[in-house]
Symmetry: C2
Subunit: 188 residues, 2 copies
């Protein structure tokens, strides 16, 4: 069984910050769902959660998923259906933690990513070992200008910022998700 | 100087295959340009080329780039401008090879990626060493259902397929690009 089975990824649309550091909720982006689900399926992760408290956004996602899971989309493109089967929608982080804890039988290690260096870092190698040892792990990815302080305060650890050697830290969240899953779960 | 300076990435819209393995030209996707440019800027690559022979597609890209490089977009989002400065448009692969050879003073090693295993593989570690040793290198990424055989026949080597341990090989090209640059150029 792949170590990916112990990894869940959540794309958080609330609480996040806007450009001015204010608390906002962001809109769900169709492409983020497809890209991160396809990458998640490639690396065999357990679930890909979309966190949004807004009923209209939740219905939008439900409609999109229905097209691919039970509708015409999945007939035309079964590979896409297979990827989108990983997607779940949850209203808030507290609900997400409770859901994972109930399913896995223990609380997951909640790990956030950040474009800026934070304290409480966990090295990629150490998180990789945790997954191989079947330790349930949840990675939180922020949208907009990143997870709000109230979400960051609750996480157990931070992955180090992804660095390409320079000081440019504006990776798309879709790309950061791919790099993180590859670093944790690649078979080379 | 970062090893990324020796790496160029090209997103190829012709010649590629469609779902039935027929030769086609694909349409340029706005999001591919933004995402791969942002990742390329993160890892300090030299150039990001869009290969398309179609005049209408070339004008579309020129318009988009103008918005970000000299227009309102770049004023509002300087980080995006910085990423899109990497983008160049070329009509065909032969022209691209000639251009890089002229600028670098030697022909680049042309490396393709493939979702299927091919012969002539080069390991990530070996390509990384080549970049550190200042060897000009061009990575070709295919759109649609991948580079057509006529393009594949001309490349010098193939990177091994990206594997997450399973048999699902439907990564978005944007995500594959991010994973490849991270494997070749990450500073950890």
């Amino acid at each position: 069984m792949s170590a990916g089975k112990w990894l869940e990824v959540a794309l958080v649309h609330y609480p996040v910050n806007n450009r001015r550091g204010e608390l906002i909720g962001s809109a769900v982006t169709n492409l983020d769902i497809h890209d991160i689900a396809r990458t998640g399926r490639t690396y065999g992760i357990a679930r890909f959660h979309l966190v949004t408290p807004y009923a209209d956004q939740q219905s939008l996602v439900a409609e999109l998923l229905a097209h691919w899971l039970t509708g015409r989309g999945g007939e035309l493109n079964p590979a896409r259906k297979e990827a989108l089967q990983l997607v779940r929608v949850v209203p808030d982080l507290a609900g997400l933690y409770a859901k994972i804890t109930a399913r896995q039988g223990e609380a997951p290690l909640v790990v956030a990513t950040s474009a800026r260096a934070q304290g409480r870092e966990i090295a990629y190698q150490d998180l990789k070992k945790r997954l191989v040892a079947k330790g349930p792990t949840l990675i939180l990815l922020g949208t907009a200008w990143g997870l709000a302080p109230e979400a960051l305060a609750e996480v157990d650890a931070f992955l180090p910022p992804i660095s390409g050697g320079g000081d440019y830290n504006h990776l798309p969240v879709r790309s950061a998700a791919a790099i993180i899953m590859d670093r944790l779960l690649a078979v080379t």
